[in-house]
C-alpha cells in the first residue's frame, strides 16, 4: 500500500511534466462528464418542476366522472347536489373536500374592456386543501354558498387588466356566462383578489394562461344544475387504493352504473407516469452523453500508449531495479485513473455550474442529485482504469533487456 502513495506521487509528477497533453487528454472526460451531469440534472430539475406543478394541482386530488360505454351521456351520468351530499355524508372525514367541478368559461366586462376567465366553483374549506394566496379581501366562504351570493374572487392580473388596480374589493363586475337557464349576464361583487404565483414554465405546463375566478359552488350546482365532474380531495390519512375501490363501488351503486363506468382520475398517477417518462428520457439522453465518455476513454488509452512507448526505457530501468509486473501495471493504471478522475471532477464542476447558472437565469429550483455526481466521478475513474488497462499491461509486460536498450 506504500507503493500506492508512491504511484500517486509519480502519476502527479508525470501529469505535471506533460501539462498540456494531460489537459487535452482530460478534455474528453471533462466534456463527457459535464454533459452527463448537466443532462441528468436538467432531467431531475424538470421532474422537480413537474412535481411542484402537480403539488399545485394537489397530489390527493381526484377527478371523478361517469363515462358510458358508448361515449354518449344523459342526465344519469351527472351528479346532482343530492348525490354530492350523500357522498359527503357516507365518506365523512375520508374526504377532505368535495364539490362539483366545472371549467366553465366566463367573460368579465367592465366598460369597454373584457377578460376571459375560468369559473372555478368552490365551497368552504377549499383553501385548506389547496392554498390560495389571497392578497386583497377574502376567499369564497360558507355564507357565500349558503346564500348563493354572486360573489367572485379574481386573480391579480385580471384585476389589473380590468381596473388598473388590485384595490377593488367591494366593487362590482358584469359577467357573461352559461347557466342552467342559458346564457346570462349578471353582476358579481368582488370579495377578494388572489395571486397566482406560478412560474411562466409552470403555466406552460399547466396548459393555458387563462386565470381562474373563484365563485360559490352553490351558484353553479343547485337543484336545477348538475355536475359532470366531482372535484375531490381524499384525506392523506386514507389508504388511497382501498379508498378508490370502495369509492368507485359506492358511486357505481349510487348512480346505478358499472364500476368500469366510474372514472377515478388522480393527478398522482399522472404525475407518476410523467415522472417515469421523464426519468427514462433523461436516463436515455444521459446514456447517449455517456458515449462521449467512451470517446474520452479511448483518448486516454491512446495517450497512455504513447506515454508507455515514450517511457519504455524508464520501464526497463524500473524493472531492472526490482519493479515487479504488478508494480508497473499499478503505476500506469494510477496515472490513467488520476487523469480521468481529475477530468471527472473538473467536468462535474462545469456540469453543476452550467445547471446552476441556467437555473438562476430561468428562476428554477435546480436539483443536482449528489448520487449522480458520485456515480459520474467514480465512472470516470473506472473509464480511466478500464482504458488504462491495455497500455498498462503493455508496459508491465515489457522485457527489461529490450526496454533498457530502447532509444
Amino acid at each position: 500500500m506504500m507503493l500506492l502513495w508512491e504511484n500517486m506521487k509519480l502519476a502527479f509528477s508525470a501529469i505535471r511534466i506533460n501539462k498540456m497533453r494531460s489537459f487535452l487528454t482530460m478534455l474528453g472526460i471533462i466534456i463527457g462528464i459535464a454533459a452527463v451531469i448537466s443532462i441528468v440534472s436538467i432531467g431531475d430539475t424538470m421532474r422537480g418542476v413537474i412535481a411542484d406543478q402537480f403539488a399545485g394541482i394537489g397530489v390527493n386530488r381526484v377527478d371523478v366522472y361517469l363515462q358510458s360505454d358508448d361515449d354518449t351521456y344523459d342526465d344519469s351520468d351527472l351528479f346532482s347536489g343530492d348525490d354530492i351530499d350523500k357522498i359527503r355524508d357516507t365518506f365523512g372525514s375520508n374526504i377532505e373536500y368535495l364539490s362539483g367541478a366545472s371549467n366553465q368559461k366566463a367573460v368579465l366586462i367592465r366598460n369597454r374592456t373584457s377578460e376571459n376567465v375560468i369559473f372555478n366553483p368552490v365551497r368552504e374549506g377549499y383553501t385548506k386543501v389547496q392554498p390560495v394566496d389571497v392578497v386583497q379581501g377574502r376567499m369564497i366562504d360558507g355564507k357565500d354558498n349558503d346564500g348563493e351570493k354572486k360573489n367572485v374572487v379574481l386573480e391579480e392580473k385580471t384585476a389589473m387588466k380590468l381596473f388598473k388596480t388590485t384595490n377593488i374589493v367591494g366593487r362590482k363586475i358584469k359577467v357573461s356566462y352559461d347557466s342552467s337557464s342559458g346564457s346570462e349576464v349578471s353582476e358579481f361583487s368582488i370579495v377578494g383578489v388572489y395571486r397566482n404565483s406560478q412560474t411562466p414554465l409552470g403555466k406552460l405546463l399547466s396548459g393555458g394562461s387563462t386565470e381562474k375566478a373563484y365563485i360559490p359552488e352553490s351558484l353553479v350546482f343547485n337543484s336545477d344544475s348538475e355536475a359532470f365532474d366531482l372535484d375531490m380531495f381524499v384525506s392523506p390519512d386514507a389508504n388511497a387504493q382501498q379508498f378508490e375501490k370502495i369509492f368507485t363501488g359506492y358511486v357505481a351503486r349510487l348512480k346505478n352504473k358499472n364500476i368500469s363506468n366510474v372514472v377515478y382520475y388522480t393527478a398522482k398517477s399522472d404525475m407518476q407516469s410523467i415522472d417515469s417518462i421523464m426519468s427514462k428520457l433523461s436516463a436515455a439522453v444521459g446514456a447517449i452523453a455517456a458515449i462521449s465518455l467512451l470517446v474520452g476513454g479511448i483518448g486516454i488509452m491512446n495517450i497512455m500508449l504513447v506515454s508507455v512507448t515514450e517511457r519504455t526505457r524508464e520501464i526497463g530501468i524500473r524493472k531492472a531495479l526490482g519493479a515487479r509486473t504488478i508494480d508497473i501495471l499499478v503505476q500506469f493504471l494510477t496515472e490513467s485513473a488520476i487523469i480521468s478522475a481529475a477530468g471527472g471532477v473538473i467536468g462535474t464542476s462545469i456540469g453543476v455550474g452550467v445547471v446552476m447558472i441556467g437555473g438562476a437565469v430561468f428562476g428554477i429550483r435546480v436539483i443536482v442529485n449528489p448520487i449522480t455526481v458520485i456515480v459520474a466521478v467514480c465512472f470516470s475513474a473506472a473509464v480511466g482504469i478500464f482504458f488504462g488497462m491495455f497500455p498498462a499491461r503493455k508496459a508491465a509486460k515489457a522485457d527489461p533487456i529490450t526496454a533498457l536498450r530502447y532509444e
Binding site: 526505457r313 531492472a320 519493479a323 515487479r324 509486473t325 527489461p400 533487456i401
Partner: protein
Amino acid sequence: MREIIRITNLEKVYDTGSVQVKALKGINFLVNEGEYVAIMGQSGSGKSTLMNILGCLDRPTSGTYLLDGEDVSSYSDDKLSWLRNKKIGFVFQSFNLISRTSSIKNVELPMIYAKVPATQRRKKAQELLEKVGLSQRMDHMPNELSGGQRQRVAIARALANDPPLILADEPTGNLDTASSVEIMELFTKLNNEGATVIIVTHEDDIAQFTKRIIRFRDGEIISDSEVKKS
C-alpha cells in the same frame, strides 16, 4: 569464503526460428565475496548475454546459476525482479537514470520497490550521494549533471539496497578518460570496503583496475587470470 556467484555448465541458446545461435557454450566459473572481476571480450563474444544472466534479467537455457546461494535458473519473472532488487546493484553504460527525476529520487528508487519507509529511504539516499561525492547535487536533474556525475548517481543507486553484488556493464563506455578514471577509482574504493564488483568491459585500461580478468571469445571462457599490479 562466501560464494556470490557459482556458474556451472551454463548455456544460452537463442532460437531465431530457423537458426539456433549458441551465445554461451557451457561455461563455469566462481566468484567469491569481495572479488573485483572484469569480464572482457569483443562484441559478439557472449559477454552481454552473460551479463544479462548474471543480472537476472535473462534465464540460461541450461546449466545452473547460483547467486548468493540461490538457484535462479528457474525463478519466475517477479521472483527475478525481487532478486535484482535485493542482490544486485546495476551500473549501466548509458547511466539509465530516470529523466526529469532528481538524483536523490533516482537513488531512492530501488528502496521504493524494497518497501523501505520514506524517511529511512531519504536518509540512506543522502548518505550514498555523499559517499559518491555528490552531496551538492542531490536535487539536480540528470540532464543538469555531467556524465561522470550521472554515473556516480547510478553507483549510489546500485548501492541502495546493500546488494551482495555490483554489476557494471561498460560503466565508462560513455565517459571521457578523466571521468573514467574517477569512476573506476570509486569502484576500487567500494571493493576495498568489501563490495563484490563485476565489471563488463572491452577496454584493457579499465580491466586493469580490477584484480581478476575473465576473457570471452565465441561464447567460451578463453582465460581467467589474476591482474598483476605493476
